[in-house]
């Protein structure tokens, strides 16, 4: 469903991706953990086609239409209302926002408020809704928990669970092992542009993963 083959990319002398290869099958969620500057965001941008890698290739089944993206920035227009934003982004995919989208994220009563008037946590929830407007088959998530409170994080976790259960794929990058582990079927550690670990989670919990992560990346970073 998603394939990365020998990806390499540098910005000037900084190597952001160094021979990264993996595949993600339907139903899989790959969590990539790494410290800041390890190349996680570059990896997602290459997968999304926002950056042409200098070497190697990335392929997402269904192309741009199949990708949903949640990044550092909400990608919303602050002056427009929640509903207008969602309708605009859906229209670019020739789609309508799913009717239950707002209720699944607890946003019903905010539909007619401009995004600029919302709190940071609500904006992040709208950003998640925005990524789901066209019912994407592959989700690319860059630190999606930033700004979410516990309840919102839980409902977001449930959404991702439904996404995976429907036979869809996701790649999640974060520096926070605690938050990412619960959703992952597969785990990778990234350091200086390289995957230093890539394996199924197979029953390991957050504590196990965190210990493995510290061993792989080095104590200073964790």
């Amino acid at each position: 469903m998603l394939l990365a083959e020998g990806l390499r990319h540098s910005f000037g002398s900084v190597r952001a991706l160094d021979d990264v290869s993996f595949t993600v099958q339907p139903g899989q969620t790959l969590a990539v953990f790494g410290p800041n500057g390890a190349g996680k965001t570059t990896l997602l941008k290459v997968l999304a086609g926002l950056i042409q890698p200098q070497h190697g290739r990335a392929h997402v089944e269904g192309g741009r239409r199949a990708i949903g993206w949640i990044g550092h920035q909400p990608q919303l227009y602050a002056q427009l209302t929640v509903g207008e934003n969602l309708r605009f982004w859906a229209s670019l995919y020739d789609a309508q926002p799913p009717v239950d989208l707002l209720s699944r994220l607890g946003l019903e009563e905010h539909a007619n408020r401009p995004v600029r008037a919302l709190s940071r946590g609500l904006v992040q929830r709208v950003a998640i809704a925005r990524a789901l407007v066209h019912d994407p088959r592959v989700l690319l998530l860059d630190e999606p928990f930033t700004g979410l409170d516990r309840t919102a994080a839980e409902s977001f976790g449930r959404l991702l669970g439904q996404h995976a259960a429907a036979g869809r794929a996701a790649v999640l990058v974060t520096h926070n092992v605690e938050e990412g582990t619960g959703l992952a079927t597969d785990v990778a550690f990234m350091r200086a542009g390289r995957f230093v670990h890539l394996a199924p989670r197979s029953g390991r919990d957050a504590t196990d993963i965190a210990a493995a992560y510290r061993r792989a990346i080095g104590g200073a970073v964790a």
Binding site: F11, G12, S13, V14
Partner: protein, 228 residues
Amino acid sequence: MRMLRVGRWITAIALVLLAGVYVRALVYTPVEQSQGLAQKIFYLHVPAAIWAETAMLLVGVASIVYLFLKDPRLDRFAAASAEVGTIFAAIVLTTGPIWGKPIWGTWWSWDARLTFTLFLFLLYVGYLLLRGAIADPAARARFAAVLGICGMCLVPFIHFSVYMFRTLHPMPIVLKPSAPSLPGSMLLTWLLSLGVFTLLYVGFVVQRYALSYLNEQLEAAGGELGHA
């Protein structure tokens, strides 16, 4: 670095030759009858004008190829050519009024050719300012290439629009379709001067190119140290 030395040598030779051309122009070439001594500046003014415009054309061509190949050497060349073009345009803009004061009786006359060079100069300044305003080398190269291509395409439009204003300028006397109307010895001096300016352009560009290459190496080394 070898390239930098080569560039310095070419420039030095060109400057010596330029002095030689001017000895020839002042001592051995006849004084033009209607304009007198002021005409001597023409051997500096016209070749500089030709290379100021050609440099923009080369910036544009290098930019087009850069967008296809993404080869940093092309970007370095475009930047070097633009800087040298700026200098040459500045030479034209200084020598023009010096000549214009005794002949036209005014420093600045909004004559079409000088006005054209002024806009060319402003275009170069914008190009160099844009380069200076972007830190990321890849984005800098892409943005500069976009502006360089637009600049090249703008040149004929500026030509056309400033020429629709009436011009005071002496009409082309060297590059006109019929035989050149310049006396033989003046033409020879002028051609020598054009040759010297070509050499000057090459010398300056090679030096500028070598310097920006060294600069990039230095930045890269600094980047590596910073990330170690």
